[in-house]
């Protein structure tokens, strides 16, 4: 029972990280209608920035986290400006391939800058772990911070979207870009803002991910990126609560199947779950059903 509980809690912790990444995917998809394959690699860049600032330069963790978030935000906006903006209005497949090109670019730049050998990431979180159930279940500091961070992120994001003018503009653009333009919304600015927020979240996710699994290489972001993308689709891509739920389910299922079924098959089980959900609900758990007009 207690081992189940600790697997469950670490699953929720992993799920929180997935959820934060998935939020970035889902926001960009909702507004720019593109699959940003490079999102996972922005996570990796964020983790490297935090690594340099914290381990190499010896600055306090808070500075490292801020640097990572700031770096990722700038990177996200730059990528959007240079690679994606010229392709606005082009077929979605061309945008997808460009995103893949950006992903290769980031991975190989990291490979050149930091070398092929993976680094050991020192956890930025130095909160003591908590013991519950008479010492049977230990919750690590990273777990607490991850779960707290994901809750804070979702609350702030929901408030931002529903209460601010920029957030309302995002909603409008995601609903109908043409009408939003007619209403005087600067679509380009809104899309850039979306990329900024999504990439900032990727920075946070990078720090949390590498504090949990302390191996850092140019490939670090790829698989979590794909899984978080799966989580976003699972919850209904474009939906913010959907991304949250999708991420959590993904993390818990992955951890539990690693513990009880097979560590090699855990990815297969997670992906199979996605397929089953999409067969029952073709637009994901919280996805909107799109009516077709003839």
């Amino acid at each position: 029972m207690s081992s189940f509980l600790s697997y469950l809690i670490s699953g929720i912790s992993l799920g929180s990280v997935y959820a934060i990444i998935a939020l970035g995917y889902t926001m960009v998809y909702g507004i720019a209608k593109m699959l940003n394959f490079a999102h996972g690699d922005i996570i990796m860049v964020g983790a490297y920035i935090a690594f340099i600032v914290f381990t190499n330069m010896g600055l306090p963790p808070v500075v490292a986290i801020l640097a990572s978030v700031a770096g990722c935000t700038i990177l996200g906006v730059l990528i959007e400006r240079i690679a994606y903006k010229p392709l606005r209005g082009a077929s979605s497949l061309s945008v997808l391939i460009t995103a893949i090109g950006v992903s290769y670019f980031l991975q190989n730049s990291a490979l050149l800058l930091f070398g092929a050998d993976s680094k050991t990431f020192t956890s930025l979180v130095n909160i003591p772990s908590v013991t519950i159930m008479n010492g049977e279940v230990i919750i690590s500091g990273v777990t607490i911070v991850s779960i707290a961070a994901s809750i804070i992120v979702i609350v702030l994001l929901t408030l931002f979207i529903n209460k601010t003018k920029a957030g309302q503009a995002m909603l409008a653009v995601s609903e109908d870009t043409g009408a939003a333009t007619l209403m005087g919304i600067d679509v380009n600015k809104t899309i850039a803002l979306t990329f900024a927020i999504g990439s900032a979240l990727a920075g946070v996710a990078g720090v949390l991910l590498c504090s949990t699994y302390p191996v850092l290489s140019s490939q670090t972001g790829a698989m979590p990126g794909i899984k978080a993308f799966t989580a976003a689709v699972f919850g209904g891509i474009g939906s913010i609560p959907g991304a949250m739920i999708g991420g959590m389910v993904m993390g818990v299922v992955e951890n539990l199947s690693k513990a009880y079924i097979s560590s090699q098959l855990s990815d297969a089980i997670v992906f199979a779950l996605l397929i089953i959900i999409l067969l029952v609900k073709p637009t994901g758990l919280m996805g909107k059903k799109v009516q077709e007009k003839v």
Partner: protein, 356 residues
């Protein structure tokens, strides 16, 4: 009449290109002008071309985005490798190869069918992510499987070699993540080209048939096609299954070109599927000849850039982004159109009808 002979001529050019490519490569091979690197690339070029053409059938002709093409290749590769180690071990090399191709194609087609029925209900990006998930599942499961054979037949386990419970003298074939070893390595460039020609024949014939026109009409306007009585799922499934079977054939070629077959994220992961998709998109979606050329160029290019060592993939990435922007950014396309009109006004008539 005129259009028919035009497509016919265009198809002849495609076949001619492949044959010319074969002739040049063979001549260079005989003349000893190929480096060992290029020699090693001959068979991979064949399976990459087959993969590109077969994926183009789904992405270009049927208009569905599939990111799991490497998964079908993986099925074909492993099924045929198991065959090569068991039933096919005592057959003559050529017979073994031909039977392996048939078995690989059939199994990949079965998987394509099983995945296709539920998946083709989904649209666009959802289809993409499900096919991606499928490819990853195949790769993961194969990495976890242990398969052995003894006088009682096949034994399968997901745990380890011991739990196979083999008799004395039994042989382990798939060793989990270590894959299959001691394969025949009997695929040749000539055989690859023959398979490529068969692939082209099947795909081009399909495109120009009644079925192919139905598939394309569904791509262009699903609702209109449905309302004239076309069965959307039937035609989509046809394209998907044929494409999967051909990817399986490429997988057979792949596994018979190696001594040791493993499922890694590099050869059967989503990165490989994306690589094939890049061939299709850069070659021109729906353009078979373009897929062939893109597959050849993009397979040889990274190898030729090897002298740049670490910068190679970085340059590849930049080339990819720049090519996409030049090819499809609305502003650049507009600019190219204006430029073309300015300088080639006289040739305008020819340019209008010259699209392949």
């Amino acid at each position: 009449m005129n259009t028919k002979s035009k497509t016919f001529r265009s198809n002849l050019v495609t076949f001619g290109l492949v044959l010319a490519f074969y002739a040049v490569m063979e001549a260079m091979l005989k003349g000893g002008m190929l480096s060992s690197l290029m020699k090693g690339l001959l068979v991979p070029l064949c399976y990459y071309m087959i993969l590109a053409v077969s994926l183009n059938l789904v992405v270009g002709i049927s208009g569905e985005l599939s990111l799991g093409h490497a998964g079908f290749m993986c099925v074909g590769a492993f099924v045929s490798a198991v065959f090569a180690r068991t039933l096919g071990a005592n057959l003559p090399s050529m017979v073994e190869l031909i039977v392996a191709v048939i078995i690989g194609a059939v199994f990949a087609a079965i998987f394509g069918f099983l995945i296709g029925i539920p998946v083709l209900r989904l649209r666009g990006d959802y289809l993409a992510i499900v096919t991606l998930a499928f490819g990853e599942i195949i790769k993961n499961v194969i990495n976890a499987v242990y398969l052995g054979v003894d006088s009682n037949g096949l034994h399968v386990s997901l745990k380890d070699v011991k739990s196979l419970g083999l008799e004395d003298g039994g042989e382990v074939i798939i060793k989990g993540a270590q894959g299959i070893g001691s394969l025949p390595r009997n695929s040749t460039f000539t055989f690859g080209i023959i398979l490529l020609l068969i692939t082209l024949f099947i795909v081009i014939n399909l495109i120009n048939s009644r079925q192919g026109r139905a598939i394309m009409s569904i791509r262009d306007n699903r609702i209109a096609a449905e309302s004239v009585g076309l069965s959307v799922s039937k035609y989509k499934l046809t394209a998907f299954v044929i494409s999967a079977a051909l990817a399986g054939v490429a997988g057979v070629l792949y596994s018979h070109n190696l001594a040791n077959l493993q499922a890694t994220s590099k050869n059967f992961g989503y990165n490989q599927s994306i690589m094939i998709l890049v061939f299709v998109v850069l070659g021109g979606i729906g353009n078979i000849r373009g897929s062939l050329i893109a597959a050849v160029v993009l397979t040889i290019l990274p190898e030729k850039l090897r002298f740049l060592s670490d910068y190679r993939m970085l340059i590849y990435a930049i080339v990819l982004i720049v090519m996409m922007i030049i090819n499809s950014a609305p502003k650049v396309v507009e600019y190219r159109k204006v430029m073309a009109e300015k300088y080639f006004k006289k040739d305008k008539k020819n340019a209008d009808g010259g699209e392949a």
